[in-house]
């Protein structure tokens, strides 16, 4: 385990940023935190997590895919892809690290999405263990260990120091690159903090939430559950939950005429929107009830059915704190699983 005094954290950031772009949570003027590019003077946020998840860095909200030039009846397709630059995402929480695995199974399965893959290959993920989990946290429900986050490098922050442990070859390289700034340390302080956090985790309001009622093969059982009628009544269909969700990956592809050619881009889309499935011959999800059901069934039943039991929710709690009508996946799971 390598240790660095927090007094010197900016020296570490400066060293990392010398040859790689560094992203880390930074406080915004509205009080929220956001993954931002580090530059001299940037202050690393103390916030538990960012409002928007780090999925943006692999799967941006909008990205240009290709360009076309048209002349008369002729079309030229222009491949505008560029290999991603090397970058480091620093301070990723355990839930968000897990979300990358959920996204990987979509974008890196054949045929591989080259846009996502390039960013993924060029990224080093430095995770950060939680020490002050919030009442909206429920990562443990999905078997995620907030005090032992995955990633290329795992980090633990105490009041005075930060500790690093490499988990992958990329992680070893990262630690080697900052070796001069860090010193070897035992894990006493880290273990003390882990024990304290584990105690807090046990007392969280959602600590007893389980996935027992969910998983692959449950479609028939859950399809006609009255929860879909009841809970979708107040759903505004705003899509906020899908936009802040680290695992939501549905997208749209659209064309933009620049006046000097056409850019084909993709952007996040949401199964909560009425247009999502609308086509020339009709719409297979006509009401918000059907769209609402799709989102939760996908995360809790369909996705695990196709991915060896892995759920497409990581319990980050963003949808709990951001839904304008305070509806969320935890409520749905509680209702279906039986109120406790």
């Amino acid at each position: 385990m390598r240790k660095l005094s927090l007094e010197n954290i900016n020296k570490l950031f400066a060293a990392v940023a010398e040859d790689k772009t560094l992203y880390l949570p930074v406080d915004q003027s509205d009080g929220s935190a956001k993954y931002s590019k580090w530059a001299e003077g940037t202050v690393w946020s103390n916030a538990l997590n960012t409002v928007r998840s780090p999925k943006d860095l692999f799967f941006p909200q909008t990205e240009d895919l290709m360009e076309f030039k048209t002349e008369g009846k002729n079309i030229e397709v222009i491949d505008i892809r560029k290999e991603s630059e090397d970058f480091v995402i620093f301070g990723v929480r355990a839930c968000d690290v897990k979300s990358f695995e959920v996204l990987d199974r979509v974008f890196l399965s054949e045929p591989v999405d080259s846009y996502y893959a390039s960013r993924r290959e060029h990224a080093v993920i430095v995770s950060l263990a939680c020490s002050r989990p919030s009442e909206t946290c429920f990562c443990t429900t999905f078997g995620i260990d907030a005090i032992n986050p995955e990633g290329d490098v795992s980090a633990w922050k105490t009041a005075t120091d930060i500790y690093f442990k490499a988990n992958t070859e990329k992680g070893e390289e990262f630690l080697a690159s900052i070796e001069a700034l860090t010193e070897e340390s035992d894990d006493t302080a880290v273990n003390e903090q882990k024990a304290k956090t584990a105690d807090i985790m046990k007392k969280l309001p959602l600590a007893d939430l389980t996935t027992d009622s969910f998983g692959g093969g449950k479609t028939e059982e859950l399809w006609n559950n009255p929860v879909w009628d009841e809970f979708s009544q107040t759903c505004l269909g705003c899509g906020t939950c899908t936009f802040v969700c680290p695992t939501c990956q549905c997208y749209d592809i659209k064309d933009f005429d620049t006046g000097n050619g056409v850019i084909r881009y993709r952007c996040w889309d949401s199964c909560m929107y009425s247009e999502f499935t609308r086509m020339a011959h009709g719409n297979n999800r006509l009401t918000q009830k059907e769209r609402f059901r799709q989102r939760f069934m996908h995360k809790l039943v369909y996705y695990p059915e196709n991915n060896g039991g892995l759920f497409s929710c990581v319990g980050c709690g963003r949808c709990l704190s951001k839904c304008p009508i305070s509806m969320n996946i935890a409520k749905v799971m509680r209702k279906i699983g039986g109120d406790k």
Partner: protein, 277 residues
């Protein structure tokens, strides 16, 4: 650049023929600019066609893979992309990518079987690929029955090919029907599901259905009441799609993605999906 190929990046195609089939359906012949077929496909597979600046949409490939020179798409005018295509002329370029989805099991399950094809309206487009594949390898299949219905005589797709080629093939019976009586039409009048019941087919056939959802629903019920098992009946679905490879999430029904796990499904497989297609 050394990035891997990406299925989202299409090839350029060029329209080399436009056939007016019905008042709202045209059949477009497409090749690459150097005159070749854009890619190989199997009967029942689809391709994404696009006009940059207008949009991209998924279409079934109506020509048989045994046609090695070009691909054909029978397209009904019903939205942005299709309206644009309908005003396109020969020589117009477009983009094409694919093939997408699973084909009909023509070489294993269908081999040696008597085939019953049932189509309504533009639903003949995906079936024409299989029908012409079976006609090409005629000795691999038993008797072939084709039931095809449309709103009117003028709405029958591929009419010339049906009358001049399909109807003259040995062991191929074509049963045409239109919804309402019409001057100059001496054939059957009535909806497809009822006509199928009237024809009272022997159940020693493998059936392939495609048409409007309501036609599929009632025809399927009819076939089952005649004694067909759902494992003998295949259909092909259509939902909104963007990527074509199970990533954009749009055509997700239950744990399946119609673009990559379909569009061809056996009807008993559909029973396992939630009723949302």
């Amino acid at each position: 650049m050394n990035m891997r190929e990406d299925t989202l990046i299409p090839k350029v195609g060029v329209i080399t023929d436009v056939r007016i089939d019905t008042p709202d359906i045209k059949t477009f012949r497409v090749v690459t600019p150097d005159g070749k077929k854009a890619f190989d496909h199997r009967p029942g597979q689809c391709a994404m066609l696009s006009i940059p600046g207008v949009g991209e949409a998924m279409f079934s490939i109506t020509s048989s893979p045994t046609n090695t020179e070009y691909m054909e798409f029978s397209i009904k005018k019903c939205g942005c992309v299709t309206e644009w295509l309908h005003q396109a002329e020969v020589g117009q370029q477009l983009t094409i990518r694919g093939p997408y989805g699973n084909p009909f099991p023509v070489d294993d399950v269908f081999a040696g079987k008597n085939m019953l094809f049932i189509a309504g309206g533009v639903g003949l487009a995906p079936l024409r690929s299989v029908i012409n594949y079976c006609r090409h390898y005629r000795d691999r299949y038993g008797d072939i029955d084709i039931v095809y219905g449309s709103r009117s005589k003028d709405d029958l797709l591929d009419y010339k090919e049906i009358i001049e080629e399909w109807s003259n093939d040995a062991g191929v019976k074509v049963h045409l029907t239109i919804d309402n009586p019409q001057e100059g039409w001496n054939g059957h009048v009535g909806f497809v599901p009822n006509y199928v019941k009237e024809l009272n087919f022997d159940t020693n056939k493998t059936a392939v259905l495609c048409g409007p959802p309501i036609m599929i629903k009632f025809t399927l019920e009819g076939l089952c009441s005649m004694g067909f098992d759902k494992t003998q009946i295949y259909t092909t679905l259509e939902l909104r799609m963007k990527c074509g490879v199970g990533k954009c999430g749009r055509c997700n029904v239950g744990s399946k993605y119609v673009c990559k796990d379909g569009p061809v499904f056996r009807c008993d497989e559909l029973d396992e999906l939630p009723d949302e297609y």
